[in-house]
C-alpha cells in the first residue's frame, strides 16, 4: 500500500531543498528552506509526534528562518543576484561522484538486505505528560545544563556579532 501522504511530504522536502540550492536569489533560497522545514514537520506528524512538529514549525520556520532572512536582508548590500555560479572545481566534481557512488551502494545494500515484507516496529508512544515528568525528574540536571548551554550560545553569538566602533575623540558615538 503506497502511502500518498508520505510521498507528498517527501516530495515537498526534496523539491524545496533543490529549489533552495539552485535559485540565485538568496531570499528565495531561504523561502525554499522554510518549505523544506515545514515538510519535515509534516514527517513528524506522520510519525505521530504532533508536539514536536508544532515546535519544529515554531522554532525552525518561525525563528531560525526569520533570523536567516533578517541577516540576508540587512547584511547584504546588493539586492538581486548575489550568488555567482562558478564552474565546479575538479575536487568538487570528484567529491560529488564519490557521494553518488556511496548513495548507490547504500541503496543497494538496503534493497538487498530488506526482508520480504516490511513492518514498522510498534511505536512506544510517549505522552507529553510522561515526557515532562521525566524531564523534571530524571533529566533535571541535563536540562539545567542545557539551559546554560543555550545561554552561553546566545552570549557567544551576540559577542561575535556586535561590532566595536571606535569612540571618537570626544566620546561621541557614530
Amino acid at each position: 500500500m503506497v502511502d500518498i501522504a508520505f510521498l507528498a511530504i517527501s516530495g515537498l522536502i526534496i523539491v524545496s531543498a533543490i529549489f533552495a540550492l539552485e535559485v540565485k536569489e538568496l531570499i528565495y533560497g531561504a523561502v525554499g528552506l522554510a518549505f523544506s522545514l515545514i515538510g519535515v514537520a509534516g514527517l513528524f506528524i506522520l510519525l505521530g509526534a504532533d508536539y514536536v512538529a508544532m515546535f519544529q514549525i515554531s522554532v525552525y520556520v518561525g525563528a531560525v528562518v526569520v533570523l536567516i532572512l533578517f541577516t540576508i536582508m540587512l547584511v547584504r548590500r546588493e539586492s538581486g543576484k548575489i550568488v555567482e555560479q562558478e564552474e565546479p572545481s575538479r575536487l568538487g566534481r570528484g567529491g560529488a561522484l564519490v557521494a553518488g557512488l556511496v548513495a548507490l551502494a547504500m541503496a543497494g545494500a538496503v534493497i538487498m538486505l530488506m526482508p520480504g515484507s516490511v513492518e514498522a516496529p510498534a511505536l512506544y508512544q510517549v505522552t507529553l505528560r510522561e515526557l515532562g515528568r521525566s524531564l523534571a525528574s530524571s533529566y533535571a540536571v541535563p536540562l539545567v545544563i542545557l539551559g546554560l548551554l543555550i545561554g552561553a550560545t546566545v552570549v557567544g553569538g551576540l559577542t561575535l556579532v556586535k561590532v566595536e566602533r571606535e569612540e571618537k575623540s570626544d566620546g561621541a558615538t557614530q
Partner: protein
Amino acid sequence: MVLDVWSLVAIFEILVFLVAFPLLLFGWLMGEKGRDPIRDAPFESGQTRLGEARQRYMMQYYPYLIMFIAFDVVAMFLFTWGLAFLTVSLTQNYLFLIFIVVLIAPLAYALYLSGKREFW
C-alpha cells in the same frame, strides 16, 4: 476515507487556497493593466525616490531575535513541564524554575547590547 485531525487541517487549508487564489486571479484579470512610470514608482508620499530601500535599519535589535530563538526552545520544554506539573514532586519543580532563572542572565546581556547603539 479515514479523516484524522491533520487531514482535516490540510483540507481546510486547501479550501482557503481554492477561494483566495481565484479572488486574486480574478482581481488581477479584471483590473487595468499597463505600466506607467510615475504610478509604478515606489510610494514615498509624492516625492521621487531617494536612496536605496534595503539598508541596515534596525540591526540594534538583532539580540532580540537571538533571544527569541533561545526562548522558543525554552518554551518547548516549559510546556512539557506545565503538562506534567501536577504529577511531579515539589523539589523537582524547583529545578525547572532554576532552568528559567539560568536564562535571565543572557536576556539581560541581550537587552544591554540592544540598548547601546554604538555597538551596531
